[in-house]
Symmetry: C2
Subunit: 353 residues, 2 copies
């Protein structure tokens, strides 16, 4: 009898959703995670809270992990990577590299949920001085600060009086090759801006943006409260450089609504870095022999009405391995991919008519 | 033995995805559709093509319908509505009103996929003269025209020389109570603008917008080609009124980038109307006793990491019944909801360990 196991590669939001979904309909599931813990980026990068309701990331992910592991038939391999794949849908052999050495496992289907990495703002664009100036940080750096419960200027440990976010760093940018919009940065920056306002009394917070892409409910869940309740100041503008001046940072650019140049001093500059395929996503595409799009994310060749199929039968993808994704996307596509993989697994063991 | 059937209410993109997903893991499925055909809004409203690749809506939905019906165990009740629901997860009784009269069926779980309706631009806001001027139409009216293969001015049957789209009609609007962003209208308008440029030689096409919310891949799939290849002209501006003048329409407002009033003559004005809950979504919330949010969509009380659960155990929701959704959202949340419902059904018939 062929294996009825689904392998889920990646233990973040999408992977956990995939595993729970596959297990809920009767498949055995093994989650293969390269790190020593589950939870993905929100845990690895010490996110303070998640969109849209500022719920603790640790608490929310803890609940998802517990719910997933409560399903009978779910097992987890930590500190383990997939080094090889042979066979075909219903009958794959995966080579695993884990703490106990190399091992082969038989699985019926695979879900790739290896996610994204944050764009490195020192790569190719040095405009904003991420590696030069202590007080230029990125979204995930501020998350970690917020989780610590204290927002300070890295240069001197003092609370900032003026903070700004620069949107679209590493997104919508032909020059660096990331032409897509990273989808979540507008929402995440607005969430963090709100949290900074709550954490630092009297602080002024600005967001410099091209378009505020607060799609769907984020408009009312995040964007309006940020403006009306928390007085975050949104400025449509293009920032061209960040320079040190008198112990602060001078942010230079153009206010495109007012149609004039601007030059504003800031104590802390937060770069809203975009999403790129994680090294694991690139590596798994290679190992599993599935197509990538020109940005390196997993290609979904079936179009908008079949979001999780890849170019290889029996291999599905979910979450940010497919491209920019919010948590809702990870839950939905994860749950769908898990079901699709389970269907292959159940069929392989003859459990379906 | 309890029923092992999943009822999917609504035969559009999300409902079909739910049904296929539930059936693929071994559940019996009945799709309950109030119209006489499957396919949902794209078919009912004669959409010409779907985002992002301008594929024929009829062809794409036809393929989804065929794939769904190919699963053993999927049956369809057309011209049928759900009039009542009693029981609990694993053991519901639904009252159906169909061509053969009233009937009760036993089901284990329910997926609500009853979708949205287009905002009625004559309701509460008369600014744009949708019911007054023949040449003011809405996105879905233009879709139907594009499907016919001929874009003309309804007033005189001639091809337009200048066409504009007005974004956010019935969205992001506190006055009418639709404070959310409808998510898809930027993409749909840009897709249609591209199609108008392809259909009418020499036509000028403008899109008046607040923010262009071309999230994720839509940036490169739709937005850049619309501008660079098809020369659609995007103007950040607020349109305050549309008036008839010399046989054309005068569009008045403010160009917010240039910071000056504008008054431009148009031959055809397309209102980018937003999404509202369909009457079926409101009705099913009532019949099934599930919570709605303040906009009338189905409430998803579990938050971003569990997108398809409703306030009633055993009842799940998918697609635009939950709020503004694109086709990818319908596929993913549909597939996930189908799996969740199947898990209840399989457990009810003792098919799971």
């Amino acid at each position: 009898m062929a294996s009825s196991t689904v392998a889920v590669i990646g233990g973040g939001p999408a992977g956990l959703a995939s595993a729970a979904s596959a297990a809920s309909v009767g498949a055995d599931v093994v989650i293969i995670e390269k790190l020593g813990f589950l939870g993905g980026r929100p845990i690895e990068e010490n996110y303070a809270s998640i969109t849209p309701y500022l719920r603790s990331a640790e608490e929310a992910m803890g609940e998802v992990i517990a719910n997933t592991l409560a399903h009978p038939g779910v097992s987890v391999r930590l500190n383990t990577t997939v080094a090889g794949c042979s066979g075909e849908a219903g009958d794959f052999t995966l080579e695993l590299d884990g703490p106990g050495g190399t091992e082969s496992i038989e699985v019926a289907a695979v879900v790739v949920a290896t996610g994204f990495q944050h764009f490195d703002p020192g790569r190719e664009t040095q405009l904003y001085g991420y590696y030069e100036f202590d007080d230029v940080i990125a979204l995930q750096d501020l998350e970690a600060m917020l989780k610590e419960g204290r927002v300070t200027r890295p240069s001197n440990g003092e609370e900032p009086k003026r903070v700004c976010f620069i949107q679209c760093v590493g997104s919508r940018d032909r020059q660096i090759g990331n032409e897509y919009c990273s989808k979540v940065c507008c929402g995440v920056a607005s969430k963090e801006a709100t949290e900074v306002r709550l954490a630092v009394p009297g602080v002024e917070v600005f967001i410099f943006y091209i378009d505020m892409r607060m799609y769907g409910y984020w408009e009312t869940q995040i964007y309006w409260p940020a403006q009306e309740k928390h007085h975050v100041q949104y400025v449509k503008g293009i920032i061209t450089e960040v320079l040190p001046k008198d112990g602060r940072l001078l942010v230079r650019g153009e206010d495109t609504t007012m149609g004039r140049p601007m030059e504003v001093p800031m104590d802390l500059v937060v770069l809203s870095v975009g999403m790129e395929p994680s090294p694991g996503t690139r590596k798994m595409a290679e190992v599993l022999g599935i197509e990538q799009n020109r940005f390196g994310f997993i290609e979904a060749p079936k179009g908008p009405l079949d979001t999780v199929a890849t170019s290889r039968e029996g291999v599905f993808a979910a979450g940010a391995s497919l491209g920019p994704a919010d948590l809702e996307d990870c839950s939905s596509s994860g749950g769908f991919a898990g079901a699709r993989a389970a269907a292959v697994a159940l069929s392989a063991r003859g459990a379906l008519r």
